[in-house]
Point group: C2
Chain length 206, copies 2
DNA sequence: TAATAAACATGACATATGTCATGTTTATGG
DNA sequence: CCATAAACATGACATATGTCATGTTTATTA
């Protein structure tokens, strides 16, 4: 079983797979951060989810029951990915009820997350969604720093914009304001959360 | 196994469960249409999904791996719901790999749908999202009619608004325009899709 | 390290959508 | 069937966010 897992490394400018590619493999993030992206014919992009070590993707779950990837997967920096043929994976799950149950739970949680994101997009303002993203990343990706919490993932204003459904300009403006208000500092390569409580308050403000 | 399934009927003003209720049961829609709703402390609502016969909910998948329902489930008209204790359901899946695989596929598709919805909210205009909703319902819920396709589910402008993330007023204005352009006619109790092609064109217009 | 591209920044203005108010029509339940 | 509430409609106006333009700063990589 384990011998059917292969490891591949990717860099910033690679694609792990593109929208429309056939879904031959099942993937797991081993190292680094991967983003799942959907784009329109006009070139607009929307980042659905950042995947971190241990995450399955299956980002686009059609890997399970569909013919082609409904979105692309791109590394954010250097990453290492484990892959297994879809067929082997299915067989493994069929023989191993505990593993299947774990996958059901994982997918359930992912569905939940996706629905929470839908609600945020529908009901929250742009600055709340951006604050929310930063709070979330501080927990998932942050390391302690003398002045707050440092994010280890590289994330440009454009990345943030695509993650919360706004334009790059709006993301820049909001981040400028957050900086002025001493909530955050730094740019893509070195983002620092300086006031987590303040961001949390903003994220859930009416 | 089957004897652990119980059936319950609900009417328009009932709740099947509310946000925050413990997730004791696993549910299946037998008859009618159910909506999954999340709401904010301020009373704003967002409808995540309409469930029709055969759908599992698990609308909020935390029924699988969480303590309390992250959203409420409300009938749209009269419905009939099958329920099974979560524990029995888990046991059944563990003994029945085929059933577990089906659930994995179902959840994968639901996750996919949710992500498609996220993309629409992030990148499409209000009128496109509303057109898209009507096209989708015509296929899932429509019956042929001399003048087009009739929707069998009762759906107010407010319902539509909550489903596509806009205000009721905006939904009413857009529907007024659609009516003027002979794309649709009727109100909540009797909605008619008069020009499916026109709606489809609008839904995917740049 | 120099050249080039990417990222960040900000102003001016456009516009889609929200908000609030008011009235009419239609449906519902006692 | 009548009374009441829900749904639909539309105007006037507010505002959040998008668009386009231009410039600076910061990072890449040749």
């Amino acid at each position: 079983m384990l011998q059917e897992l292969t490891e591949t490394r990717y860099g910033k400018h690679d694609y792990i797979f593109r929208e429309g590619d056939p879904t031959e493999y099942f993937h797991i993030v081993k190292e680094g951060t991967v983003k799942c992206v959907k784009s329109t014919p006009e070139g607009k992009e929307c980042t659905l989810k950042m995947l971190m070590p241990g995450d399955l993707f299956c980002c686009d779950a059609a890997a399970f029951d569909g013919a082609s990837h409904p979105g692309s997967a791109q590394p954010m920096g250097d990453v290492s990915i484990l892959r297994m043929k879809k067929k082997s994976y299915f067989e493994m799950l069929r023989r191993n009820p505990d593993a299947a149950m774990e996958v059901i739970k994982y997918l359930g949680n992912r569905l939940n997350e996706a629905q929470e994101k839908t609600k945020d997009l529908a009901l929250d303002r742009a600055d709340q969604r951006l604050a929310s993203l930063l709070v979330d990343l501080a927990a998932r990706n942050g390391i302690p720093d003398p002045n707050g919490i440092r994010l280890t993932v590289r994330m440009t204003r454009e990345d943030m914009a695509n993650m919360v459904g706004i334009t790059t300009e709006t993301a820049i403006r909001i981040m400028s304001r957050f900086k002025r208000d001493r909530l955050v500092s730094g740019t893509a390569n070195r983002l620092l959360i300086r006031d987590l409580k303040g961001l949390k308050a903003l994220a859930s403000a009416s």
